[in-house]
Amino acid sequence: MASLYLHIPFCEHKCIYCDFYSIAPSDGLARSELPTGRFLEALKKEIELRSTTGSAGVSYETVFFGGGTPSLLSSQELGAILGHLAAKYSIESNAEITVETNPGTVNRQKLQEFRSLGINRLSIGVQSFHDDDLQFLTRIHSSQTAKCCVREAYDSGFENVSIDLIFSLPSQTRDRWISNLDQAMELQPTHISCYSLIVEANTPLFRMVESKQVSLLDADTDAELYELTISYLTGHGYEQYEVSNFAKPGFKSRHNKSYWDHTDYVGFGPSAHSFSIRSQHAEGPERSWNVANLSDYCSKLEKGQLPVIGMEHLTIDQLIEEEIFLGLRSEGIDLSSFRTKFGKDLMMEHELRVRDLLETSLAVVEKGRLRLTSKGYPLCDEICASFLS
């Protein structure tokens, strides 16, 4: 199993909290001046270049268009990219093909076109159903547009629709967050990602917090909202399969899981990461990443070079660390496959720690996996650190 990721580095507007690489017209360009054509050429080139190394015999189960705002591309453009991929990679017929979609960048017709290209999953960046939250986050859409977008997605034939929500916004109350969740329920998404607001360095939000223009919620309130989210969604038929991800039965994102299961992924586009556990490299599994700059990205590919700017080879200890924290973040660590892979018995090696977790109900052993409970997820990083030390 393996996955493909495409990073589409364009946005209509850069939101204050976002640190993903993209460029927007407000960066001094008119919308029509965004170098979409040059990028698409370069992307095509990258798809060709990467397909010559190590992809033979591998079949790809998921394709994910992320960004940036991939839904800014026209359906023709997306279709062309899918065409290039299909020409070079063996993509399974039932592959999960997702496009991150922002309300306000698509209409019913465009969504129908997406669907007819074989795209079968939308991840819609709703973030909030309150207009003042959306304004604070500097999103381009309103609550109404967001709801409309989700309904149109269903109407256009999508059966797998995910929405993103952000909680722990400044001065957010428990009631307001519940109201967000209530409104989400009305739309019946098959999948919900709920993220606690992260203040990333080098974002306008970071500077606003630094200069005390904005004050964040205290840690205990943040914890309370998170605990509430888990109990609310699991109480409404969603299964938590990762720290921030919840799905109706049968609708976990296969693409997300590929990251957490340590399977191979190939990333295209500026700032995209690739990972190969099967890497033939003597130093171990390889993770590499592309340059996070559109014009450097294009120039490299125009010269026939991969735009890779960094890589690492994981040592066995690093690989074990990742297995542990990725496992604990998601659906648990498969104990027998851990033993097969690393020749170590996790339960024996961390006997006291595990016993502690089980006794305090922070974790359970279920179907051969050591996994966190809804009580354990909020302490995930704390628990991971205790395993690593």
Partner: protein, 599 residues
């Protein structure tokens, strides 16, 4: 012998002792101005940084005086801190005279007086020198300072020299005064040998090097010498005088200052204050004044990383070669693993040892709260010394506990007397008397439990007196006190390394502060932590550290994984430096929590 002058310089820190020494060396040509990095007498990095002389040294100079005669001058350096009173007294014992340096802008300080009294006790001729007279602020002060000196020494005002060691003004006169006023050594060159060890250092290649002053007789290479304190006999291999380097001259005679190398492997055999004599013709009596240097302050020293125990032992052993006052014995703690209980002369000595271990030996350390040594009489009559609070016997087994007291002297402007007395009272001090050096300057005497001054007494004193008070102390005696052992429990498990011994009257307050400080210093854990202070089985204070509720990064997709792993690795490093008691992880700073407790 009559052309020899042995002298030292007595001063408070920063009053210019080392600068004056430098000038004297320059004038006598012992060292050229060009070769001189400043203050040659302080040759350890640490000493130069702290501006204090820790190890003693001596240097011999030749000087042609105005009277036309050639003199041999021996300058013997003295350490300038209260922790080293005994060492100072032995250096003084090697001299016939002392230059008393007083800063014209500061006046007489506690340390000046303490060392001066030692010098007077040793029968030394005192030459007062008021330094830094060229500073603008000296003008208004100088008459006051002169009066202080006259009062202190009972000398005539004309006998006081004035100058500036920095610019060299008046320093020539100091040397002339040494020649004229300091008596030549007395002693019988024909009597059996008696030489005083006033310092010793460890030389990697030669072993222990004793710095000595010969009082009677003579000492030649190949002589068999005996140390009075332990009766050990060694053969003198190398005998000489101390110039910028050792100068091997083969023999030393009554009145001389020099060194002896005798294949002694360990500085503990060349004890400061001990007397050397000949094995075949021993002196009947040693020179007076010898004492075993006794550690007064104790602290647990543990490696941060428990694997480094062996390394720490090696470092301490090496350090001890050069520092005969340092003692250490292995001990173990449930919280900290294997380490050492170290004994120090005082707090400064403790700090110096810690810094040298960290800097010169690259050790990462955890120190426990320093404490004194208690004398415990048990109900069965047995008397034991307790230098680690964790080993204090149970209260029911104790008949009485005695603790060391010191005689403290504080000199400060009179306006601060009130707050100083309050501080001393808070520290269970007993006021003895207060005299006035001048109408504006008081000399305050207290008897204080040593335990009460080893924490932050000196810092507090400095802060309440805006830096004007100076302090000196000397060991007095052991006195019975109502002392209790205060234990700290984390989730009901006692943390041995956090136990302290405190006076009963202070125990509640102490317990409360400890708990609240620990609550600040211990990070929240995955579970609630009860922090309790207890005397015996009675809990006297409690704080609750609530459990951490959330610590998880919201997003972790393709590009985040490496970043996330690095974050966790960092967190892991942080945890490695924590010590675990039961399930509770304690940061290293917590073990010194007491030192940062607020009033």
């Amino acid at each position: 012998m009559k052309q020899i002058r042995n002298f030292c310089i007595v001063a408070h820190i920063d009053h210019g002792k080392s600068t004056l020494a430098d000038r004297i060396l320059e004038i006598t040509g012992a060292v050229s101005a060009r070769n001189m990095t400043k203050q040659v007498l302080d040759d350890m990095d640490l000493e130069q940084e702290r501006g204090i002389t820790i190890k003693l040294h001596a240097i011999q100079m030749e000087y042609k005086a105005i009277d036309g005669q050639q003199y041999t001058l021996n300058l013997i350096d003295t350490p300038g801190h209260v922790d080293f009173t005994y060492e100072v007294s032995r250096s003084l014992a090697a001299c016939e005279g002392a230059v008393l340096v007083v800063d014209a802008t500061q006046g007489v300080e506690a340390q000046t007086i303490a060392n001066l009294y030692l010098a007077i006790d040793a029968g030394l001729e005192i030459i007062p020198f008021i330094n830094k007279i060229d500073l603008p602020s000296a003008k208004t002060m100088i008459d006051t300072v002169k009066r202080q000196v006259v009062d202190l020494l009972g000398c005539k005002e004309e006998e006081i020299l004035l100058g500036s060691a920095k610019s060299g003004v008046g320093t020539h006169e100091v040397i002339e005064a040494i020649v004229k006023r300091v008596p030549a050594p007395k002693g019988d060159p024909e009597s059996p040998l008696r030489a005083l060890i006033f310092d010793s250092v460890f030389d990697e290649f030669r072993g222990a090097v004793a710095y000595i002053r010969v009082f009677d007789g003579s000492l030649r290479e190949k002589d068999h010498v005996k140390f009075f304190s332990n009766g050990k006999i060694f053969q003198a291999e190398d005998v000489g005088i101390l110039e910028m380097q050792r100068n091997r001259v083969g023999a030393l005679f009554a009145g001389d200052v020099g060194y002896l190398i005798a294949n002694v492997k360990d500085v503990h055999d060349t004890k400061v204050g001990d007397t050397i004599t000949h094995a075949d013709r021993p002196a009947a009596e040693p020179l007076p004044g010898y004492k075993e240097a006794k550690p007064m302050v104790f602290s647990g020293v543990y490696p941060s990383n428990s694997d480094a125990f062996g390394e720490l032992r090696e470092a301490l052993e090496k350090l001890r070669l050069n520092d005969s006052s340092l003692t250490f014995e292995p001990e173990s703690s449930l919280a900290l693993g294997f380490g050492f209980r170290c004994g120090f002369l005082g707090l400064l000595h403790m700090e110096i040892v810690r810094e040298r271990l960290e800097r010169e030996y690259n050790q990462s350390l955890i120190n426990t709260v320093p404490n004194v040594e208690y004398r415990v009489t048990k109900t069965n009559g047995e008397v034991t010394l307790v230098d680690n609070p964790a080993f204090m016997p149970a209260e029911v087994l104790i008949e009485k506990v005695e603790e060391p007291y010191i005689k403290g002297q504080i000199i400060a402007p009179t306006e601060y007397i009130g707050s100083i007395m309050k501080l001393c009272m808070d520290r269970r001090g007993v006021h003895k008397n207060t005299t006035y050096l001048t109408p504006e300057r008081a000399d305050i005497h207290y008897e204080l439990p040593l335990a009460e001054i080893i924490f932050d007494f000196y810092d507090k004193l400095k802060s309440i007196s805006r830096g004007y008070a100076s302090f000196d102390y000397d060991f007095l005696d052991y006195r019975e006190s109502d002392l209790v052992k205060l234990d700290i429990l984390l989730n009901l498990e006692p943390v041995d390394a956090l136990s302290t011994i405190v006076h009963r009257s202070k125990s509640y307050d102490w317990g409360r502060k400890m708990c609240s400080k620990l609550r600040e210093l211990i990070p929240r854990q995955m579970f609630e932590v009860a922090i309790q202070a207890a005397i015996g089985s009675k809990v006297i204070s409690r704080e609750t550290l609530s459990a951490i509720r959330k610590n998880v990064l919201a997003k972790c997709y393709g590009g985040d994984i490496s970043r996330k792993r690095k974050l966790l690795e960092k967190q892991k490093e942080g945890k490695k430096r924590m010590k675990q008691v039961g399930r509770v992880e304690i940061p290293q700073e917590a073990f010194l929590a007491v030192l940062s407790m607020e009033d």
